[in-house]
Symmetry: C2
Subunit: 332 residues, 2 copies
């Protein structure tokens, strides 16, 4: 049996070109004892993958040039030499960017048992959802009634962060770009503020108008002027959870940081970076809390879907154009 | 009786000129019930006072134009209408920048009872010492054996931070400017690194050489390239206590921040600003721990002293030239 998969053969500088990604085909070896063959049904593309393309070890190993790219995926076991995963089992694993994945059983997870579409385990009940939850609760230590600001608020992580924050009360403000995203945020009861055509001072003024008392929590996905404006609007004792800084991922030369970091001092505020994998032991707690909200439809788990393996690089590149509302997925 | 005191009549931009400070004289009113008159013997000048000269409320009210400047001082009660502070009592209070202070008794503190020179309560056993201790222990949560980096390491706060860190083990590195300061740090068993004539990359390389494993704690007094280099050398889970950013206090236009804030994410690090006054409830614990170390001479509490009230502005301005080793004081 053959597997079709994407590779890269060079480390991109700046925004990657579509041509960076090569679709290749290889004959799979016979299954070894303990291995499983999975037909993928959904692939995840995520901003953090850009970092893995740069050839540098950050908190995760870089992608190997010429080898199949990796990423979260959902699929069905079609051949198995592992007792725990018989044919027909639905699984989640990291063998994405391909149609057929062949993996040792210890790299597979059974899907949890909620009444939700299976791709939810790549989004609202997967890594992005867990990231939103861990950042708010475990890093920013959000309290009942806190005012919360979220950048990238219509993205996979941000859209869940605003909703989880909203459920705990306080004023919740989301920063996004397009009118479509702003409207969607407002429909969720979130105050939506655009960063488009604004400098940091103008964004600061808009945030102050949306929430004059300032923010107890800032959930950071973007960096750039969002961070600078957020620093200006912190309350005393505020906590910033740094989940990502997508504004910078494609920079060949890093741009300067905010000139107002001293606000951390003036507001006795805390800014903390985190990686969701460090918090994975709490995934069951997250599922228990958020799973029922997704089942009941109380959480709006918007998705943006591209169809077909061939479109995987396009889906990935759209993340940096802000083209997705909610989780960006590829359906096979 | 007359009091001589310093005032400012304008808000300085950039580095203040000596001419900003006016020495004025006023006849003191008769003592009201509950008031005390103090002849100051030692005045403190501290970097945070620069912020109070800008006319903007940060975490503390600005100085009032034309009114006596304020700051920590030690003195002797020479006239009293308050039972708790009879004539002859040695006290600490915030009526500095003057020779005779007249204050309500509730603004006075008795000096603690250690066998140390009284000016120690403006330095090693006063606000700067407490700042070093609180930043290391309560903000950075320093653990036994942590590697610790301190900027402004020969200043009033930094020189105590390096010594308190040293006492808990691990590699301690201090950043300073002049050769005299570097030599002094080395004499304390601290690895001294100069920031002079270096850019952020060169300072990063020098820090990596001094402590190849990287730092668990960064005690930040300076900002600028010190912060940028420190971010490059953090270990996973590092904590940055932001005590001050003296490099920026005289900037008319704030300079850009570090372009590598994403290191907080990569190293899952935390950066937290603090104000010592928020932690003052722990002052007795600090005294109990650090007082005996000063009495016994185990802590080197270096001082830089200017003589005479007239020299107070000069002492203050020297802080920004890096002219002091240890606490900068004025002796009256």
């Amino acid at each position: 049996m053959q597997s079709r998969y994407f590779t890269i053969h060079a480390h991109p500088e700046g925004t990657p070109e579509r041509e960076l990604f090569a679709l290749e085909t290889a004959e799979l070896p016979a299954l070894a004892e303990g291995e499983v063959r999975v037909r993928n049904t959904w692939l995840s593309v995520d901003p953090y993958m850009r970092g893995r393309m740069s050839g540098v070890t950050t908190y995760i190993d870089p992608f190997e040039l010429g080898a199949p790219l990796q990423g979260a995926a959902i699929g069905e076991v079609i051949e198995s030499r592992a007792e725990a995963f018989p044919t027909g089992t639905r699984v989640r694993h990291m063998g994405g960017w391909r149609d057929i994945a062949q993996l040792p059983a210890e790299q597979l997870e059974h899907l949890p048992d909620f009444d939700v579409p299976e791709q939810a385990y790549l989004g609202v009940l997967g890594m992005p959802g867990m990231t939103a939850w861990a950042g708010l609760n475990r890093i920013a230590e959000m309290q009942e009634g806190d005012n919360v600001l979220v950048s990238g608020a219509a993205g996979a992580v941000g859209s869940l962060a605003v909703q989880l924050a909203k459920a705990k009360g306080g004023t919740v403000v989301g920063i996004a770009g397009s009118q479509d995203k702003l409207d969607w945020l407002e429909s969720l009861g979130v105050k939506a503020v655009s960063y488009k055509d604004r400098d940091a001072d103008e964004l600061t003024a808009a945030l102050r108008e949306a929430c004059p008392e300032g923010f107890d929590v800032y959930y950071e996905n973007v960096g750039g002027i969002c961070l600078e404006a957020a620093l200006n609007t912190l309350r005393v004792g505020a906590r910033i959870a740094v989940c990502g800084m997508i504004a910078r991922y494609n920079e060949a030369t890093p741009s300067a940081g905010p000139d107002n970091l001293a606000m951390l001092l003036i507001r006795r505020a805390r800014m903390e970076g985190f990686i969701v994998f460090d918090h994975w032991a709490h995934y069951p707690q997250f599922l228990e809390e958020v799973g029922p909200q997704v089942e009941s439809g109380r959480l709006d788990d918007d998705e943006t879907v591209e169809d077909g393996l061939e479109r995987t690089p396009d889906a990935f590149l759209k993340l940096f154009e802000g083209a997705n509302r909610g989780k960006m997925l590829v359906r096979l």
